[in-house]
Symmetry: D2
Subunit: 133 residues, 4 copies
């Protein structure tokens, strides 16, 4: 598990006075990109290895509102890598350690031409790094 901190921005709030719910999906990407970089598989390294991993699904369950200028800690778990597919879960907490959002995303690994890749077979270094999260 790795943790990423997002500072809620003023422009992320809506007229209800809280973070607009669509932003949590963006924070998931922020957390994911940051953790991948941390384990040596940042976007540039992925590109050099001709690997892309588009999002195939997302889901968010909102537990408590957040707002500017809250700090949100996002715990990221690689739940499963099976074949060319990966599932990540996210646990987002406010400064009081209360869960504000539980989320997940699913991804598929492909090369630049769209051919599916199995990390365990086609890129064992990436597979190992992901499992170290």
């Amino acid at each position: 598990m790795k943790t990423y901190r997002h500072l809620v921005q003023y422009y992320e709030t809506d007229r209800m006075g809280v973070t607009h719910h669509s932003n949590y999906v963006r924070w998931m990407e922020e957390a994911r990109m940051s953790v991948l970089r941390e384990i040596g598989w940042g976007y540039d390294v992925m590109e050099q290895n001709d690997i892309v991993s588009p999002v195939t699904s997302v889901s968010c369950r909102y537990r408590k509102p957040t707002t500017f200028p809250d700090e949100v800690d996002i715990e990221l778990y690689v739940e499963e890598i099976r074949g060319a597919r990966m599932k990540i879960t996210y646990l987002m907490k406010n400064a009081k350690d209360e869960t504000v959002c539980e989320a997940s995303s699913e991804h598929v690994f492909m090369d630049g031409k769209g051919k599916l890749l199995r990390p365990d077979r086609d890129c064992p270094e990436l597979y190992e790094a992901l499992n170290s999260i």
Copy 2:
């Protein structure tokens, strides 16, 4: 079922050349707000009746990419209203009638003070209107 059309904007695309996946969550809100207005329960009417219905969860399954300047038709179904809760599903299609995204959102009805409301009991006109979708 009601349909809403969203025109994908240039600023909704990302460097992969397609619509960034977080925008579909915003289109769900656009479609929902537009349909509610169409059935006589626009945001202003909800407010006058002291009813709010925050989003408690969302999920999206991405089937095919879209990009600027695609037209996306969003079919909206009120799946279930049970107690104070409502589930809506969304079927998004491109101009070739191909499904691009399947999504759902869950909501809870409350008054302005946060007290749960049951549309069937507390606001039968809203309940009936929602069931007419």
Copy 3:
């Protein structure tokens, strides 16, 4: 002059209860892209002709707030095309015909390789179409 209508979305508001000021820059793009398409120079036609026109500057003066679900009419004027440069101004009005924002953007015309293009000399059809706005 051409007019484009934008419906303010809920997700465009902020916790002050009004449209976040950054969105007006996006509406300028929406209006521009829509008008270009209307005069036969949509994004796809530009691409086929290997022409891009990135934004080199923007400015907005905010006169009155707007909020969801306002309708904003955006009048677009091609102020000047000089050499490879174009300046567009925008006058945004609410339903009461009050000015809510005065804005401008500057653009440069280039081919796909980044070589500057002068519409009057290099693409007279585009030049004429732009002047017809």
Copy 4:
């Protein structure tokens, strides 16, 4: 002068492969809010003192593109405080110390009821703090 660092996010890019130009306006707000907090006048303190300072204008001149995952350093200068008005300028630089964007924003100080405030006269502590930037 104070400096704020923004990490460009993937979701801030567009299909041209670079940061969408509307995001710079958001970064200006990020930088401003962060610097205000740093000098002891964060959003919460402003609210406690019943002071708001809405944006009345923005302008950006784009010099060089940025993209994910660039780091952008934003230098913020309080250019002028005259009566109830303040002008801030921003100089944004990439990791090579090249200017990527020159920007400015104008603000007005008001109390919660919309009455104009002159920081020098009505809130000398804020005036002094702003001038220390």
